[in-house]
Symmetry: C2
Subunit: 142 residues, 2 copies
């Protein structure tokens, strides 16, 4: 079955494009730099359900995204998580956290109402992240 992004992720996020394994999304909450990787396999809910090669590719894409986020935002900590209690489609959150952010040191989920991006900041964040990632990943047309 062809992969389709879960409607809740489509609604809450902006799509940046496709890497070898994952769709890359920006969560529409300007309080934290918050990106999401979604392995493009229909029906997968847990990391261990991916093939071992895809698990390694997920790790590779996650670490490349992490390094790009660190270079770009210089956070105090990264939070990386596969939860999925509400959206069962496997997705891996990557959130740049700061001791000065409004939820610190709590996890961000369910803590504060999201604050949607305004232009031109949304575009700037997306272009900057894509620029940082450019040398590390291959974008896949779909």
């Amino acid at each position: 079955m062809a992969f389709e992004l879960h409607p809740r992720l489509s609604q809450d996020c902006f799509e940046l494009g496709s890497l070898k394994l994952c769709r890359l999304l920006l969560m529409n909450d300007s309080q934290y730099p918050w990106f999401v990787l979604v392995p493009q396999h229909e029906g997968v809910r847990e990391i261990y359900e991916l093939s071992e090669l895809d698990q390694f590719e997920l790790m590779r894409e996650s670490s490349r995204l992490s390094r790009a986020m660190v270079r770009l935002f210089n956070p105090d900590k990264l939070n990386i998580a596969a939860l999925g209690n509400i959206v069962p489609q496997l997705h891996l959150h990557h959130i740049a956290r700061f001791v000065t952010d409004p939820a610190w040191p709590a996890p961000v989920w369910g803590k504060l109402p999201s604050q949607p991006y305004l232009e031109p900041r949304r575009r700037a964040v997306i272009e900057a992240l894509k620029g940082e990632l450019a040398q590390a990943v291959e974008w896949v047309e779909r």
Copy 2:
């Protein structure tokens, strides 16, 4: 520098043993089956700081633990996360979640005061998990 488990993890968890890369812990909160993998490298805070081989080994140990937890507890969802806002030493949470658990569908962190295990349940959970993992992993003496 030799690896030492962060004192907060020592205090909050029971140590089950060492796998090839990670120390395996049981969080002392009987509300959820909750295990933690801690890569045994001193000074590492983020997954991307591990070598690529160790990242793959972390993924391997995480998936083996995940499968053992699913066989043993039959959860509705796994929550897997590297947060570290309070304890900076890299550690990967693995939590078996149920639609009937007291925090569902919220993440567990900071939601409810922990409920320490009583014997004989603590021993039973540890022995059962070790039994499920036995075929999949190699324990390392230290």
